[in-house]
Every structure is written in structure tokens, then in C-alpha cells.
């Protein structure tokens, strides 16, 4: 009894540290994402004045306005009076929390009270923004400046998404990205699964050599092959700047890893199963299709996630092999050019960014159980 208590106490600090680390990682990962999502849904004026974490609260900000000019003054009992509303001509009615006569102190007077100027003038501003400005002498020049605090209620809008999708070209880029990514994920899986089966289970002369070559290709930098590949493409005449060209490029770049991952998984399938199918009279193609493929689904899904994310987030290969014309540019490129042209418009950037990450998020969460299992299964035999 005493010892178990002791154990628990001894374990406590390390478990606490573990939990803390997990919480930290989760926060570091989710907070910026949440920030982008919230910002992209906020009104563009609000983004400019307050942070996304204040989005749900009513904020109070200082503002200034002017009374109407001297033309609007009315003489009343020997005094000259200008009355009106601070929110005239604004988006809608507002709420005045406080007002003042000097820029340094916009919260000097509560609404409804009378603020007196040194020379006998006075100002009253009510909660609804209506004001009465009184002067003993006739007013001239421009209207008097009024400083006030106003509360702004939370406001969410999908307008930013409308803007980026339909006027900034992100919608088109989204479709382009899908057009590039989906075939560039499926083609290498199809090829790699066949290759992986052959390299794992078929008696081919030089099998070990092929496997070594593929592992070697894993470490070849992509950049090294760009120019030779482009020259090759140009020589064919049909491949440059086409979707077919970029599918092939991504397929080529993805294949070594795909074959490596799938082979180690497929090689880990029980030998008895394959041999049993051989005795049952199945040929290699049938064993592959009926036994190996269904049992390798976790590894296939795992690679699909890797390849999808890599192609979706790729900028370099897309720029080199697909080009930067508007009707073919992918999301990453469009996002990059928006950063240049609309760098100050946070509502545009956050909405575009969120459109860019939503697909990887969906892919990951729908396949993540295979992802984890596939990774484990690849490394731990029979896992």
C-alpha cells in the first residue's frame, strides 16, 4: 500500500511534465489555426483595430467626430446651438460609453452630462450618440471636434471568403490544386503498390539491388533533377506546363518513398498467407489483388496522406512544371502572390490561408487512424 503511494508520488512529476508538454504542443498547433479561422470570418475593419481573441467580446474603442458646421446652428434664447448625432452617416447606431473635449481624454465625461469649455461653450453627448453643442457667441469655421468612447458589438461575416474565392482567384486556384493533387496522389500509389509487392514477394533476379537503388533514390535532392527533367519535358514538346507533366513529376518524386514504405509493410505480411494463396492456385496478380491489397490498406492510406500533403503544399514543383499563369496557378502560388499584392489586407490573407489548409485538415482527420497504424505497422513487424 505504502509502496504504491510512493510510486505514484515518484511518477507524478514526469507525468505532469508529459501532460504539460502535450497541452503545449496542442496549443502551439491549434491556436494559430484558430486565429486564422476567426480572423478570416471577422469584419475587415475589426481585424485592423483588434486581435482575433477579442472577436467574441464587445470592444470599446476611442473615436472622434465633428459637430455639424456653423450652417446648422440655431439661436435659442441668446445661445447658439448645434444638435445632431455622432453616428449619422455611419454603418448603424452605436453606443457612446463616454466623451470628452480633448484628444487626450476621450473618456472624461459620462454620457448625458454637460461638459463645459473654458469660454462658456458646453457640450452634451447622450448614450445614443445625439449631442447638443451650445455656444454664447455665434459659431464660425468648421465643426467642433468631439472625442468619445464607443462600444463595438462582435460581427462575423463570410464576405471575406466571397471576396477571395470569386474576385481574388483563390477559387480557381483551389480547383487547380485539386486537379494537380488528386491524380498526383493516386498514380504513385497504383505504381508503388505493384512494385512493392514484386520487391517483397516475387523471386526476381537482382531484387536486392533494386531495393538498394530505391532506398538510394530516397536521398536524391529534388532540386537536382529539375533542370534535366525540364530539358526532357521540353524535348517531348507535349509535357511542359501541362497537368500531365506535373502529375508525372510528382509521381516520380513520390515513388521512392512510396515503394519503400509499402514494401516494408507488404514484406511484413505473414509468409504463410502468401504461400497458402500460392497453394490455392492464385497467380501473383491475384494474390496481389485479393490478399495483399486489402491487407495493406493502412499503409496505402498512410502514404496517401503523406503524398497528398506534400503535393498540396508544394510550390516549387508547381511553379517549375505547371507555370504561373493565372488559369493554372495552384493555391500556394496564388497565396504567395496575394501576399505581395494584398499584403495589408488581413481579411484576404487569412481567408485564403484557411482555404489552403482546410483540405489537408480534412484529409488528415479522415485518414488519421490509418496514418498512425500504417506508420507503426511499417516499422514494427506484424504490428
Amino acid at each position: 500500500m505504502a509502496s504504491t503511494v510512493m510510486n505514484r508520488i515518484r511518477l507524478e512529476p514526469s507525468r505532469f511534465a508529459l501532460h504539460l508538454a502535450v497541452i503545449l504542443i496542442v496549443l502551439v498547433w491549434t491556436l494559430p489555426t484558430a486565429g486564422i479561422l476567426v480572423s478570416s470570418l471577422r469584419d475587415k475593419n475589426l481585424i485592423a483595430t483588434s486581435g482575433w481573441w477579442t472577436a467574441l467580446t464587445t470592444t470599446v474603442r476611442s473615436a472622434q467626430s465633428r459637430t455639424k458646421g456653423p450652417d446648422a446652428q440655431v439661436e435659442q434664447g441668446g445661445k447658439f446651438v448645434i444638435s445632431g448625432n455622432l453616428f449619422e452617416g455611419a454603418d448603424g447606431p452605436g453606443v457612446v460609453k463616454a466623451f470628452g473635449t480633448r484628444v487626450a481624454k476621450p473618456d472624461e465625461f459620462p454620457p448625458g452630462t454637460v461638459a463645459a469649455y473654458d469660454d462658456g461653450r458646453s457640450l452634451t453627448v447622450n448614450v445614443d450618440g445625439s449631442y447638443v453643442y451650445t455656444s454664447p457667441i455665434k459659431l464660425e469655421g468648421t465643426g467642433q471636434r468631439i472625442f468619445y468612447m464607443t462600444s463595438v458589438p462582435p460581427k462575423f461575416t463570410t464576405e471575406n471568403y466571397n471576396t477571395v474565392l470569386f474576385s481574388e482567384g483563390i477559387g480557381r486556384a483551389f480547383v487547380n490544386s485539386l486537379t494537380v493533387t488528386i491524380p498526383a496522389t493516386i498514380i504513385p500509389i497504383l505504381i508503388a503498390a505493384f512494385a512493392a509487392y514484386a520487391l517483397a514477394w516475387m523471386k526476381i533476379p537482382g531484387r536486392g539491388f533494386f531495393i538498394a537503388v530505391i532506398v538510394g533514390l530516397l536521398v536524391v535532392p529534388l532540386q537536382m533533377s529539375l533542370i534535366p527533367l525540364l530539358k526532357l519535358y521540353n524535348a517531348t514538346g507535349v509535357l511542359p506546363k501541362t497537368y500531365l507533366g506535373i502529375w508525372l513529376a510528382h509521381t516520380g518524386f513520390g515513388l521512392p518513398f512510396a515503394i519503400y514504405l509499402l514494401r516494408s509493410y507488404i514484406a511484413g505480411l505473414p509468409r504463410d498467407l502468401i504461400e497458402s494463396a500460392q497453394v490455392d492456385g492464385a497467380n501473383d496478380f491475384k494474390i496481389f489483388r485479393r490478399i495483399v491489397l486489402p491487407l495493406s490498406f493502412p499503409a496505402l492510406a498512410s502514404f496517401a496522406i503523406f503524398q497528398f500533403l506534400w503535393v498540396w503544399n508544394d510550390l516549387l514543383v508547381a511553379m517549375v512544371f505547371l507555370g504561373t499563369e493565372k488559369e493554372k496557378s495552384v493555391l500556394t502560388y496564388s497565396l504567395n502572390s496575394l501576399l505581395g499584392s494584398r499584403g495589408g489586407n488581413w481579411e484576404i490573407l487569412t481567408a485564403s490561408a484557411f482555404i489552403t489548409i482546410i483540405v489537408p485538415l480534412l484529409v488528415f482527420f479522415s485518414l488519421q487512424r490509418y496514418f498512425v497504424r500504417g506508420l507503426l505497422a511499417g516499422s514494427v513487424k506484424g504490428g
Partner: protein, 335 residues
């Protein structure tokens, strides 16, 4: 309806020589058991017959035809794997029908055959289940069903009972014996390291050691006339006592073999008796085993029922003359 003939069969993996000049002839309808210690090549021999391993040299004939280079599915054989090797993503029905499907048979015929086999093995209620929802014994039956449904002439079993617990093992062993009785025409080759399985199931036993056939014979032949020291020590439980020194010289041989059940345990010295002290007595109820320390080493003796000799008792072990086995300098039996 198939006999198997192995002539000078050799198998090597690179420099490692696994099977050495194996000669064996299995008659049609016979139940043959390969038995031997682990690593003796018995599984490799079975896999060579199956076609999962290539033969390095020699001739393998099934039903009179040389099948050295014939793929497994064309040899008319069926194999039951140690791990059962059921396809985990297929139902019991699909597992059994897979081979028929590969033969391109008509759906209706497949259904009829599968149902017949399922009925025979009491698997009908489980046809739609996946293997993971079956017990060990049921999985075993599916594996056997898969072999039966193909109508193979030769059945190969690779340690089929080693994954079962003791009780189920006895029951399944009896089921396999019954299966053989129901299919008298089918040749069965069975690999095991368990000599009880070998003794109870086999028409003939092939004892293998280090890739060589040590002896081939009926279970009783091996028990009563082991051809050499290895077979003598391997068949029978507890092991036969192999005594060298004084008692062997008196019997005019290098090694004298005597089974524990053929030793009379006496309390008085007599001619030919070996004196010793009971080191440990195992009482099992139906019989008792005495481990007796003598000047010729530890000797095991069996007594019926409960033993009268406790630990530390001085006893004299007298071999029954008609049951003495004598072996020469090379370990071969002296007739």
C-alpha cells in the same frame, strides 16, 4: 490416390546443406509423419514436397510424374499451415472457396462444394464470420476445410496442432485421425515434433535428424526396434535409457538401451541389476517415474501405480532381458 517418391533429394541454402540425400517412398493413402528435433529439416522437406521450396537436386515424383518444377497449385496437394494462414479479411466461406474460385469453377458448384465441406466439419453456422471471430479449434477446421474442398490427392500438415492448447490438441488429433479414416484414398504427410502425435496418427513414421532420414517404420517398429541410438532416444516418453560402460560391456555392445518401463525395480542385489539411489520420484497416479542415480549415470525407471521407493531409497534396476536394445560403436542397432 497418389503415391509420393523422393529419390536422393537434396536442398541447400547457399552453403548450408539442409536435406541430405533423402530417399522415401510413400504409398497411396498412407498417413506418414515426419518427426524430429527442431531444425532437423522436416518442415523444409514438407515444403519441398509442397513446392514452396525448390529442390537443389534429386527427383520428386507425385503419382508417378516428376514434379520438381511444377508449381504448388498444379501438384494436386493441399497444405495446412502451422499458423492456419486463413485470409483475415475474408469470411469463412470465402476462405474455403478461394481455391475453387482460382480454378474458375461455376458459382453454383463452388457453393455446393463449400457447403458440403462446412457441413462435414460443423462449420455451417460460421460461414459468414471472419477468422478473427472464431476459436482456435474452429480456425483449425477452416484450414482443414480449405484443404478438403480442393479434393487434393495429398494433404500436407505442417505442425497443425502446435497453436492449440493441450485439451484441444487431443480432441483435434482425434478429428484428424477420423478425417483420415473418412478419406482412405488420400495420402497425408504430417510434420510434428510431438512424438505422441506421431505415434497415434501415423501409419509410418519418418525420423529425421540433421537433414537425414534416420529410420522409417511403423510406430511399433520404431518403438520395439529402433535402428540406432538417435531413434531409440527420440521415440518413447520418458526417453529410453542409454547406458554405456559396465552393463553394456556385459551385454557385448557399446551402448545398451532399455526403456524405463522395461526395468524391474528391486530392493535386493541380483545378477545384471544396476545399483543406484532414487534421486527423485515423480508420482503421476497411474504410474510413477523414478530418477535413479547410478555409477552409469541417471537412469529412469517406471513403476505401475504409486511407487514404494521414496527419494533417497537404495534400489536395484534389473533390465528385462527380452527388451534390451544393443547398439554398436557407430550407434547402429545390433540385430
Amino acid at each position: 490416390m497418389a503415391d509420393i517418391k523422393l529419390t536422393n533429394l537434396n536442398k541447400s541454402y547457399g552453403a548450408v546443406h539442409i536435406l541430405k540425400d533423402v530417399n522415401l517412398s510413400v504409398k497411396s493413402g498412407e498417413f506418414i509423419v515426419f518427426v524430429g528435433p527442431s531444425g532437423c529439416g522436416k518442415s523444409t522437406l514438407l515444403r519441398s514436397i509442397c513446392g514452396l521450396e525448390n529442390i537443389s537436386s534429386g527427383v520428386l515424383e507425385i503419382d508417378g510424374a516428376v514434379v520438381n518444377d511444377v508449381p504448388p497449385s498444379k501438384r494436386g496437394i493441399a497444405m495446412v499451415f502451422q499458423s492456419y494462414a486463413l485470409y483475415p479479411h475474408m469470411s469463412v466461406y470465402e476462405n474455403i472457396s478461394f481455391a475453387l474460385e482460382n480454378q474458375g469453377l461455376d458459382r453454383a458448384i463452388i457453393k455446393q462444394k463449400v457447403e458440403k465441406v462446412a457441413d462435414m466439419l460443423q462449420l455451417t453456422p460460421y460461414l459468414t464470420r471472419l477468422p478473427k471471430a472464431l476459436s482456435g479449434g474452429q480456425r483449425q477446421r477452416v484450414a482443414i476445410g480449405r484443404a478438403i474442398v480442393r479434393g487434393a490427392k495429398v494433404f500436407l500438415f505442417d505442425e497443425p496442432l502446435s497453436n492449440l492448447d493441450a485439451a484441444l490438441r487431443v480432441q483435434t488429433r482425434m478429428e484428424i485421425a477420423k478425417l483420415k479414416r473418412d478419406m482412405p484414398q488420400t495420402t497425408m504427410v504430417y510434420v510434428t515434433h510431438d512424438q505422441v502425435e506421431a505415434m497415434t496418427l501415423a501409419d509410418r513414421i519418418v525420423v529425421l535428424q540433421a537433414g537425414r532420414v534416420e529410420q522409417v517404420g511403423t510406430p511399433m517398429e520404431l518403438y520395439e526396434k529402433p535402428g540406432n541410438v538417435f531413434v531409440a532416444g527420440f521415440i518413447g516418453s520418458p526417453k529410453m535409457n542409454l547406458i554405456s560402460g559396465g552393463p553394456a560391456e556385459r551385454a557385448k555392445c557399446k551402448t545398451l538401451g532399455i526403456r524405463p518401463e522395461h526395468l524391474d525395480v528391486e530392493t535386493k542385489a541380483s545378477a545384471g541389476a544396476i545399483a543406484g539411489v532414487v534421486e527423485y520420484a515423480e508420482v503421476l497416479g497411474s504410474d510413477s517415474f523414478l530418477y535413479v542415480a547410478t555409477e552409469n549415470g541417471l537412469i529412469t525407471a517406471r513403476q505401475n501405480g504409486r511407487t514404494t521407493h521414496g527419494n533417497g531409497a537404495k534400489v536395484y534396476l534389473k533390465p528385462q532381458n527380452e527388451h534390451i536394445h544393443r547398439f554398436d560403436d557407430n550407434g547402429q542397432r545390433i540385430a
